[in-house]
Point group: C2
Chain length 194, copies 2
Amino acid sequence: MSDTPRPPRRDALRNRERVLDAATELVRRDGEKVPMAAIAEHAGVGVGTLYRHFATREELLGALVHRSFGIALDNARAAAAHPGPALAGIRGFFLATLRDRERFVLPLHGGPAVFTAATRERQAGVRTALRELLERGTTAGELRADLTPEDLIVAASLLSRPLLPTGDWDGLARRQIDLLLGGLGPEGPAEVTG
Amino acid sequence: MSDTPRPPRRDALRNRERVLDAATELVRRDGEKVPMAAIAEHAGVGVGTLYRHFATREELLGALVHRSFGIALDNARAAAAHPGPALAGIRGFFLATLRDRERFVLPLHGGPAVFTAATRERQAGVRTALRELLERGTTAGELRADLTPEDLIVAASLLSRPLLPTGDWDGLARRQIDLLLGGLGPEGPAEVTG
DNA sequence: GTTTAAGCGGACGAATTCGTCCGCAACGAC
DNA sequence: GTCGTTGCGGACGAATTCGTCCGCTTAAAC
């Protein structure tokens, strides 16, 4: 029944990775409409190879997004498994996102959000892990009770791309993390009227 | 000496605005490489008209960015002029950014940050107004002392573009504002180790 | 080594996008 | 109204990008 159709050749796997890496870099730098030929060249392969591995631009972009959610899922699960206080886990998740930012290609920019079923599963997995983490913190009285995974995801996505041309994105991003962590406590955010 | 070369015709001004509005919408939706012809069509003008007003794509993008900083400058100055506590002014700045988000086209996405000298002036103006606001809050003991305008700008830029495909970006964004405001107090952010 | 099928690369025609140019339309001064 | 000038629109050739196709290369099974 299971006719194993033979594993792909070694160079094929290697080239697939090269294409993904090159595409990640160029899509982040030049946007999702960067010419396919540019991606192929930067990867050191011919366009034929590129199109063989990813028949359309959509498919390539989908693979980038899928890969990104794989990284995010790893980070979210690691954070949830963190033995210390939930706040430390959340901080770890943010810092991991910042660390991995150059590998993320997320549909942040109005591009066609290319989500396969498998990607959606990973996305749901991220939510689940973060929800678990938040519940632990809420139960322990460490966190305000109304937080949702989306709150963390939005904040994290801010970190994944330098928004200012200043050189020190790392510094700015870390400060944003600290500022945000101050608002997560059980007393809720400062009351402000006006 | 001053040979006033005659003001532009009424239809020219109207068409210029139409192009800017159309470009704002399409660049936000499809990215900065959206075809010029698409912008012209969406604006209801011919490509000739588009290229007459903006000789190159760069020039058009530059105008969009310039316009965006004009809005941001108005908002920053209004916030600085706010009579109440500084925290309320900051909140007002964030909410105004959220309100105006569809009019912002900022060089957030690796695109060629098209900054003219005039744009840089507006940008500096935003910084100045926000610095003033922060100093007022710090002097009053309302805010931690180490905040910079960039901290506010980064946070505000997060609001200017929906990052998640969920429908309720407004709700998520408002919550981010509240969370962040909790970290601005003089006691500094919660201490977290791990 | 030999063999064979998977994989590679880049030339090429099709399709898209660019940016100019010029005959026609309409604003506004009189 | 008339007239001069500014501004409009879109057709068009040039340039870029797309995606396929096929002869050559190379991994890997024996």
